[in-house]
Symmetry: C2
Subunit: 221 residues, 2 copies
Amino acid sequence: MDDVQVKKLAQIAHRKKISAGQTIISDEEPVDFFANVISGAIKLTKTLPDGRQQIVGLLFAPDFLGRAYSKNNPYTAEAATDVEICTFPNAAFERLVGEYPGLQQRLFQHTLDELDAARDWMLLLGRKTAEEKVASFLYMLARRSMLTGCVHKATPGAAAFELPLTRSDIADYLGLTIETVSRQLTRLKTSNVIRLSTNRLIMVPDLDRLAHAAGQEHGRH
Amino acid sequence: MDDVQVKKLAQIAHRKKISAGQTIISDEEPVDFFANVISGAIKLTKTLPDGRQQIVGLLFAPDFLGRAYSKNNPYTAEAATDVEICTFPNAAFERLVGEYPGLQQRLFQHTLDELDAARDWMLLLGRKTAEEKVASFLYMLARRSMLTGCVHKATPGAAAFELPLTRSDIADYLGLTIETVSRQLTRLKTSNVIRLSTNRLIMVPDLDRLAHAAGQEHGRH
DNA sequence: CGGGGGCCTTGACCCCGATCAAGGCGCGGG
DNA sequence: CCCGCGCCTTGATCGGGGTCAAGGCCCCCG
């Protein structure tokens, strides 16, 4: 993306802080903006009429929120932690996309990545055991923390990170109950795959062991 | 899509028949073509190292197979029934996409629809009961058959269609076992929500009842 | 016609994860 | 300081769906 584009984007942008738990987009009302996640985590959820809930996507730092060419999105977006986003009025943004086809391709690429992630998650939801689900979730966060990782731990196969979700959210992400998530976490803890300092801070001494517990045999580095 | 585009597409196209059970794309080898489904059903599957399998997408008549701007796709595509597809060499197709931005937008739109479908399925996999899963699957096919439906049944709230998948495939799509799928089908049959002539031909006397059994209360028509 | 192999159904039993219930921990406010 | 409330953990029990096993149906082939 060249300078001109960045400047034009900046001109129509509007920064915004949102505190944990607030709803950003509801599946009931149309969306008139497009946004970029600056910091924090946003959860996309779907809910059955009787209240059962499933998290169908997690958004982190450089992700997009909202959808091009459609005002109605079929899910609710809620701040999982305190969040900073950068919003663009939909109309202005679409005009810009029209001018710079490269931008559209970027969005396209990003959507393809989201589709891949969704399908990976379908495999997890449909076929993995509770322990594998929890381990997979932690493994995903661990890899993310390696990339984002400002702090390069001395030990190479290890990682440490903070959980951006409550137990309840983790359960909704993995298609489990709160209790099962808790039990599986202590299970992974007692088998020394992970260590918990507080119940939000996770230490992974050996990523390969975690990948193994996640049922994906030395994941694709 | 205007005439010129259609003609250019036709020039580089290559029609192909594939019989049920054959693998079209493997997740191990790169893909050098893009395709359009003409008839039949294609299943996209993911498999865990130990063999557990999940269908992460079903492709029908006007859908696309393959992916722009990436040779590696992370799943296997297999013909669920006998299938006809129309393939395009990747390079030529991408050149064409470059020339006609409208085409790219169409692909984008289609990918967004696939993402929505994947996320709906995540809710199903994570939170629905076995009966709701089977009912949801049938409901999806019933709605599809209404759109595609050449045969307009006299009764409005009803539908009839053929299952494009074996029990085993249905199980892999719903994150269940073969036996559970079978049991839930007989359950829906004995409660008169559906009727089976052969074990592949389904009659739905009342779509709303099916939608209700699917846990989605008079689905969005 | 008879045999064999897919595909599907049905029954019996079991186990993983849900449910129900109790209590611990940490934190903010009176 | 204590109380109350979220959030989390742990235990006891239950049940939906998995597993194992047997058999039915249909079609192809000898």
